[in-house]
Amino acid sequence: MDRTKSFVITKWASYILLSITALIWLLPAVYAFTTSFKTQSDVMQTGFRLLPASWVMDNYARVLSNSSSAPIVRWFLNSVLISTTHTILMVIVVSLAAFGYARLDFKYRDTMFFTVLAISMFPAVVNIIPNYMIVHRLGWVNTPLAVIVPGIAAVGNVFLVRQFMTGLPKSYDESARMDGASDFTIYLKIIVPLIKPVLIVTSIFSFTGSWNDFLWPTIVLNDVRQLTITAGMLLLQDIYGNYMMMGQLMASAFLAMIPTSLLFLFAQKYFIESLNLNTGLKG
């Protein structure tokens, strides 16, 4: 099959389309990146130039020195702790719940799931007040728990994993059940391995979501040493946008995305591996 003409045609057509889209997607990022090396007067000069007139490191230097009085290392450790714990808990809680809603038979199962999903779809605007009250009652204000736990309630991830589990043929767990396997064994040994790619995706989403969140952390963590790095950096730097200090804004945006980008590239390796492992699963 591989050597047919259509294979070659579709291959090159795909390359071309992918490359064009990639180029469009890349350009703003490249532009942002080169801007982070421009002086303020260079940015504001009439006319478009992709590259800086002269490359300067001032923006990065200024962003980093701005933060010199701030406990950046501490914030970074806080974030690593918070996002990692959140992600681990999330994957466990979510995959268990999704298994329950997708693979177990119990009364009102779907009604229950769709009710939960529907309720979670109401935009949460004034909820920040009751949420704070709860976290406060639990004594979590100014502790990492205040930012680790509430997000686990999100229903979106359960929905995502449930959808993948629903798509798997029933015969898989039925034959295992026949062999006397418990629900938990089926969950752990059969279903979870089959949906590994989507669990990796869920972890990436959870980690970056938790890493990038800033409004809630600043509400529940008002001790400066307890802040996450994203919230802390925003306190130091959100002003660049107001001042149109574009170079510094871009520099701080790039510095801020280094950890999540590295995580993505790291996770992507496993993601793609697990995709390859999965190929061949029958419908």
């Binding site: 002086t39 303020q40 007067s41 504001m44 000069q45 009439t46 701005n66 009085s69 450790l77 806080n78 702790l81 990692t84 714990t85 681990i88 920040i128 007040i129 704070y132 009250m133 406060h136 204000v141 100014n142 502790t143 990492p144 800033f214 409004l215 600043t218 509400i219 008002n222 001790d223 400066v224 040493r225 307890q226 919230a231 925003l234 306190l235 130091l236 730097q237 959100d238 002003i239 660049y240 107001n242 001042y243 149109m244 200090m245």
Partner: protein, 422 residues
């Protein structure tokens, strides 16, 4: 596996140590909305204060969304800070809901904390029904930056001889400017508009506290801006006028005192500061606001600590020249009259009593609604997308509807109903 275990273990120990970090009851916890560079300058000032070894050191917490956070903690009644920096237009509302404790008793022991020592408008913004609820830190105001080189190029430096640019002077540039050059931009347009309305004798509220936006004065003020735009002298719609000033294609930029931070970064930009333009050179105003220190209501705070707060404010009165670094005008007479302050550009606004009087601080309880409603329509009015009448009428109605939501509930707010003691 091993790495995972280590990670988990590390996470657990770290979380223990994080949990252990707790506040010290002798600290004065102060919340401010000072994100960015301002916050760091405030940190620096507080460090200087704490180095004097006070009985009650100050701990500074920057909050990106100060008012949301204040509402949140006051709803639960715990975690309330001792001190907060709030804006002038918030005072009346806060007082109405019993969220601020007056300084009246403390002022007796601290002779520095009196009206005469501060910029008057900033001081009186904290006065409600004869009690003093806040002590001012600064005034931050609208200011007109001008490009020295462009003024020289067009030979119009004389516009600023009397320190006031007038609409007539602006209009005299019609047809005189090179292509791509403009006279004024649209930065902080709503602030400029409010100042113009006051220049014409208007105000944003009447004596009964009703909003007055759709007024002859306001219409005339918008009309003047529309004329500048129609003469091709205003930066075009969709352009960032602020960036254009930095790109040296616009003569005047109506910005904030704090914007000089960014302008200083443009190497070859020679700029100066003057008053926001006006209709004639006898009457002019610069719309500003003020950062005010207020003690949020908190039953747990001891009298000794409140004494400590007053001592801190005493110190700020004498030593806040550091704060001028942030581009703001310190409200304290001791500071703004000091020779140190003369080095700062914004000392322009304190060089005479007349200049000080031009600082316009609105303390109308519903000011926030007014500014937001005007912002929603001002660009469309100035660029002729909607008529002035429609724009102002919509803004007027919007503010009235919002005000009715606050009053209409006849919230004779029962003070016991507030969950503050809990």
């Amino acid at each position: 596996m091993n790495i995972k275990k280590k990670l988990l273990f590390g996470a657990a120990t770290l979380s223990m140590s994080l949990l252990a970090g707790c506040g010290n009851s002798n600290e004065i916890v102060m919340w401010t909305p000072l994100t960015g560079e301002d916050g760091q300058i405030m940190d620096q000032m507080i460090e200087e204060y704490n180095d004097t070894d006070p009985e009650f050191p100050v701990s500074h917490v920057v909050t990106p969304d100060l008012y949301t956070q204040i509402y949140t903690v006051m709803n639960t009644g715990e975690g309330t800070p001792d001190l907060a920096i709030i804006h002038a237009d918030r005072v009346e509302g806060f007082v109405r809901f019993n969220m601020l404790k007056p300084f009246d008793d403390l002022m007796g022991n601290h002779p520095n904390l009196v009206e005469d020592n501060y910029i008057e408008q900033a001081w009186t913004a904290g006065e409600v029904d004869g009690s003093q609820y806040t002590i001012p830190l600064d005034v931050h105001s609208n200011v007109l930056y001008y490009n020295e080189d462009l003024l020289a190029e067009y030979g119009v430096e004389h516009f600023l001889d009397d320190d006031v640019l007038t609409f007539d002077e602006i209009m005299s540039l019609e047809g005189e400017l090179d292509e791509g050059h403009y006279a004024i931009n649209t930065s902080l347009m709503s602030w400029v508009l409010l100042a113009q309305a006051v220049n014409l004798g208007g105000d944003i509220s009447d004596d009964e506290g009703n909003p007055t936006i759709d007024t002859p004065e306001m219409r005339e003020a918008v009309q003047a801006l529309v004329e500048v735009e129609e003469a091709g002298l205003m930066t075009p719609q969709g352009e960032d006028g602020y960036a254009m000033f930095q790109g040296q294609t616009v003569l005047f930029s109506s910005d904030g005192t704090w914007s000089s931070l960014a302008f200083d970064m443009v190497e070859d930009l020679n700029y100066g500061v003057t008053n926001i333009y006006s209709f004639d050179s006898d009457t002019w105003h610069n719309r500003g606001s003020s950062h005010l220190f207020g003690m949020l209501t908190n039953e747990d705070r001891t009298e000794e600590k409140e004494e400590g707060v007053a001592e801190f404010l005493d110190w700020v009165y004498e030593n806040s020249v550091t704060w001028a670094e942030a581009g703001q005008i310190p409200a304290s007479r001791e500071v703004y009259e000091s020779p140190d302050f003369e080095n700062y550009q914004q000392s322009f606004f304190t060089k005479s009593q007349e200049q000080i009087d031009s600082l316009l601080i609105f303390d109308y309880e519903y000011y926030g609604y007014v500014e937001a409603a005007i912002n929603l329509v001002i660009m469309d009015m100035v660029y002729g997308n909607i008529s002035i009448e429609d724009g102002l009428a919509a803004a007027q109605q919007e503010v009235e509807d919002l005000v009715a939501q606050g009053h209409g509930a006849d919230i004779d707010v029962d003070l016991d109903e507030l969950d503050l003691e809990e």
